[in-house]
Symmetry: D3
Subunit: 332 residues, 6 copies
């Protein structure tokens, strides 16, 4: 989108609040589709047609792009709400989503279970949980975090899959690790996040998310499955619970206990590493748009990150780099 | 006990390991009864009559008291094991116990429920949990901690009762607090400790205690009761769980979430305060024996504590101070 | 106040600084009365009638309420200064004040002395200090802090009284505590704050407040009274000084020494707890206006706080909740 | 070795200091061979034959095994020094060594270079450094640390190889990483350790190790090679230096800069993880001897570690577990 | 400069970015000369004459001073670029510079070498390094830091000289210190800063500055000189390197090793002290303009600083205070 | 003293406690004179002649030196107490003392006052305080700390003098500092230590030292002098109090406020630096005895310190190094 360009399209209304200018009240709005978000304004007197605006609604927007303080914004000329109930459009089409569709991520996760779970009770447990209707539907849409990393539909699955892959790769280097318990831990370590965050257009913490945290929520959701899985050894169940409880590594990061087995150390490392690499990846994506080598200061990492010059590689075409990322520019 | 005094009594064998002197192998042993512990030696050749010594057994000991490096120890001349199964003696008689019997502490706790729980679902929940056979039997014997504070039979109940009393007293000063939710939180905040520690003669952390911690264990034990208590509002249940989860106050002290309601702040303060006062109380008890005003350095509090001179009080007789403490000298 | 409403009233001018718009210079002002504050603007050319504006003055304001960026502000049409010296108005009427009048708070504090101080030298000391003209006049108006908690006239007394009540309540639960020394400590723990903060319209730190801190200032103000109180035991005086010096609990919070007696621990807990509950109380007050369950992020507590659903209570009418708070909306 | 067993063998004298008993002066000594260490005593009057004892010497020892305070020690009857110069014995035979011989570890490292280094200047650099006579001879014997992890001959190579393997495995999961720069970083990240520690029988920090640290020493040793490698891009050299400088991850752990590229994050994780797994591995080895599930408190990890029950695996025979560890019992 | 004043002068364009107003795009610019900086605006349609504006260029500016939000800014009517290549003007004339010219600072530093370096190899080393063409030209212009302290041309030399003087003064009080090694350490402790920061108009970190830090860069630059200085004892070289490596005092502040000799402690103190005094000095300079006694909150020092009333001194005339500071008001 | 040497001399009995050996009770004693301390034993039956032993007494000891676990100890054959009251001996002769006599240190401090105090009220204040009988007598004997640094008679004066000298030297480098206020601050910064520590043979914290700390005690002792010094400006008094209150630099080190003036920063640096240099100096003294280059781990500095090779200095004779230290070997 560039200044002056007309807009005539469907968006999700992600946020709306009223302001007051000398010319009367106006609406500050944010629209969203799968490719990103754009801020907008509905100026008076147009604004006065909308006494309230309900976020999370779908609407047809007409207007054009303006530049305000070096940022594009949408001046809305006309705005009409659409009924989501008619099924003509799918809300999910308006949320940022992982580049690999959640369904495919889930299948890859299930393939890992098939490939590595030789002990039948482990395999059964994993399949029961992943196959449970509520769990599955939540995992399919859950983001990986509120804002910092994997903050998009499928983000939780994408993170879970990468953590599981890292764990399996490390089992090749350290063969003494208990590969199957570790895989179960990787798959379920962030299960509680599917209940900690509301997901959807207004991805925010739920009350139980804020009051209990996703580690406690994960234990709570997993426990009934463990109770029903009689064939799984009690010691293995306890180890799995320990992996969940300790995966943040330190009390400071909200783990009630710290890792006490090599598998728990590994899971913590894999979780931490994948979150950080995803954050850097998103920064690099932004930097690539402007050709910068240094990112702006990143609060979560407490530093600027650097895209170092790559080792020359004749065999590798830079173009076919897989798109691993969802934050495309709106309607790019 | 004083050097030279003969001993001829029943004790619990709390620990035993073999040493090697120039004169042959000997046993380092620790005996225990409800009034405390004493170290002892079984010298060679007597020692060689016992190829192994099983801790936790009851035994009849004959010998006399010696002074070794300024400490009393028991030189064992004869040692005979007793069968616990015959019911003639109760193992509990040989463990240090709270000054008020656990049964009485439990009754006082139930009285608090009766006095303050006006909302029936809260009352029902508390009674169901406290009345549950496994819970009750564990609470009756559980210590409050491994070593630092309330480390004796009934210690957990004693601590729980004081925390509940402090919370009720603070509700009088701050009437906006939700008195009943806070009481439920006080009663159950350390419930998991009854499973975190093994209690008994060798009071140590259990595997699940070390791998999950008592906060997680408490949630796990409480959840089935909450699930069965249909009449209790979902929001109150969530608040109660939050009180358990946050009662250590900071991530650093193992709380997965920090207090987010005034009741959670209060519970954390009450818990913290009672633990510290109990530690100081034990130090004062020791200091009273020797008349010192300053305690030795206390690792847990990271300081020495001081018994300040008391405000003169004619109405109060110093003698009838209630004995609030279990660590009496052995056979004092 | 709502947009469009005319205003014609007396206010205290709390702050004033000049801005520059395209239409010429204008004044950003803040007016204040006992019910709160409101920002305002004096636009050009009206603004040019006031080359300077002295804060802390009383003035009669005419104008009307506008909405600017979702906040009300006062557009000033006319502004006339009043002479404070004529005694017709009392400046105190324009400062936010504790809901219970300072005079009543002081009486309740004196009642506590009467009720608990059985040792005459303690009683004498407390009465001498509280009865001292300078101390009394400062305590009557002193705020509890610059911004965070109890930041209103009478705030220091309100905080002092609650801390004293908490300490007395805890003495009921822990009868071994030295109730009278603790009460003296509670009453004087923040005495220095009456000199650390200037109070009044521009409540800010004084030079001696910033350079010495209120703990040191408190000792300095208390010492002459202690010197004159010959009948009070030297050890009790030292204990009282220790209570003042250690009441922040940790070096990190500015205590030159950490608590070393049970009374010092208790005083620190009570002080800390009351400050935090007051902060939460103020947040709840704000949240009640908008019906929110979660507060905005609170920098001092480093978290959002939550108003949990209350336990249903038939006997308690929600309406007669005592108003414990001063931050009412302006002219509400 | 068991109490009473006679000893008649060659050892390295690892430490010796004189004590004083009632019967005259005696020597406390520690003997060492490749399988471990044993403490011993040379009692008076035998002790008086040796006015001094030079550590690091080879000696023939006759005596027998005693049990002292539950530990075996060697009572020396006769002790005769051997000349190392005659070449009949190799000192290295008396030092604990990695289970895989250093020569093989070095070859595996060179194989990784061959397999992954496609960019010729990287390959050339690695081969020049690893092929340099001083570097190679130091790497062949260097321990990985003073005491905590990999503290044996070949330990540095073993650690380096595992870190390199972990990095290569993670490049498979995160294909955007610069595999070759990362491999160079992994190979050289601890190069300075070969100069920071003296290695040998008295493995201790050197003066330059203590005064500069191994990060600075590594840069110093690598720089001349980088200067000579004209074909390697300046930006790649800078990235490699950054990998060395930042590999401890945080200032707190002695890194002058923190990781600012994804490769630097990965290298830090791999380094940290391998060190911790090696420590746990050594603890498990010790625990296996006694069948314990919990390690003693480990100061470096600040916790006890747990050997969880393994997932049952029919296909895996427990017996052919590769011996990955050097701390066998002496003469086991 | 005061509002309304016309401007017609040469400036360095320090920064420029485009904004968007209702009246079209405009340029936010910052101009700079040796006396300070001033922000400005080029409004539409004038702004549209400049599709891009290159920072670091010299330009002739016509316009006048406006007041905007209590700050002066320059409304640009005309702007014409000058060619730096013609040599008619010197860019250095437009950068803030230390009050004492860099050339004089360098001479004073060399005088210290002459006065204190009695050991010839030390003297030779210092002269070689300070006389090296690249080193000298960088030192002549290098700032002491990016923003916090000594952020002006000559700032690095000014800081280096003061640190050296402090060290020499302390050697008088502590005669056991190794004066010459300490002087060498003082002179070279921040050498790497001349490469860590780009200096000039856009004083920012270089890539190697961010990726390696100035401690590592200093070692790298110094090492070739040390290698060539054969007569200097190896132990003294190592001590000097230690002084550089440890001068930040703690790992937290980026030192890979902490001070381990008295000289290293002293150098760290002197460095820390001079940086802080320079920051306070700049704050005082600002405060003097407005007569304030308290500075605004200073993020780096994490406090406000206070100008205490001075001890009366008849002999000292306040007027001839040497101007030790460069941040004069623009064209003052 | 060497093993076998007979002893027949006067000592101070510094500590005594009873042990129990197989041969009966014995006394562990420590004797002390100005040159150091030595442990000793009074074996049974000799020990039984002394039912109690009062520490702090002077006694004549006969016996000889033994070697026990590599340390010398004194086997006491005969021990006879001396009456201190007869004035024949001076207890001070048996305490370790600063190498320069306290009287000389005090004079040098007074010389500094004369040299630098040009403002008469400052000079008067300093002379009044230093001339006060109680202050002077306490300063003459006070140690600088309990154990860590300057722990000997005159240690407080020695430290005070060095801090004052450092401050004066820094005023030469930074002429804007308020030299006279800084000197007053240096002289009185640790005044409270003369009351915080008991000094003498059993140098330990006093009750008021532990409960208030030396900063508070210093203010308390100084305040009456300040009150009496009417001619000294109120602002200068406040600055002086701030220097005392903030001289530990950080809350963490017990300062209720942190330095807010340049003089306060300087005083904190000087204090910190002199304490650390004294600790290192003592370590070097010990290391010189054995020729070691590295100290053992020093808990207070959290590191080992290193005596670097000195820059060769023909003009300086190593022999006439002034003895700046009191810890000579006993009777060396």
């Amino acid at each position: 989108m560039s200044p002056g360009q007309p807009v005539n399209d469907l968006f999700l209304l992600a946020s709306a609040n009223m302001g007051q200018s000398r010319n009367g009240p106006y609406w500050n709005v944010t629209f969203q589709d799968a490719t990103g978000t754009i801020d907008g304004k509905i100026w008076s007197p147009k604004s006065q047609e909308y006494p309230t605006l309900e976020t999370g609604s779908l609407c047809h927007v007409q207007g054009y792009v303006e530049n305000y303080r070096d940022k594009n914004q949408l001046k809305v000329d006309h705005l009409e709400f659409r009924d989501l109930a008619d099924g003509a459009v799918d809300l999910a089409d308006f949320l940022p989503t992982s580049s690999v569709p959640p369904q495919d991520l889930m299948e890859e996760l299930e393939d890992l279970v098939t490939a590595h779970m030789k002990h039948k009770p482990w395999k059964t447990l994993c399949r029961k949980v992943l196959g449970d209707e509520e769990v599955r539907s939540r995992l399919m849409t859950a983001p990986g975090a509120k804002t910092v990393h994997h903050a998009y539909v499928g983000g939780l699955l994408e993170h879970t899959l990468q953590v599981a892959r890292v764990c399996m790769a490390l089992c090749d280097v350290y063969p003494d690790l208990d590969r199957q318990t570790l895989l179960a831990g990787a798959i379920f370590h962030d299960l509680g996040k599917a209940w900690e965050l509301s997901g959807g257009a207004a991805n925010d913490y739920t009350d139980e998310g804020r009051l209990l945290g996703h580690i406690e929520l994960g234990q709570e959701k997993l426990t009934p499955f463990l109770n029903r899985c009689k064939s799984l050894d009690k010691g293995l169940k306890l180890h799995l619970k320990h992996l969940l409880a300790s995966h943040h590594g330190e009390h400071d990061f909200g783990s009630p206990v710290r890792p006490k087995t090599p598998e728990a150390f590994i899971l913590h490392f894999a979780d931490n590493m994948d979150a950080k690499l995803n954050i850097i990846d998103q920064a690099f994506e932004e930097m690539d748009k402007t050709g910068q080598e240094w990112s702006p200061y990143m609060r979560f990492l407490e530093r600027n990150v650097y895209r170092a010059p790559a080792t020359p590689d004749k065999s590798k075409k830079q173009n076919d780099k897989p798109e691993n990322q969802c934050l495309l520019p709106l309607k790019a």
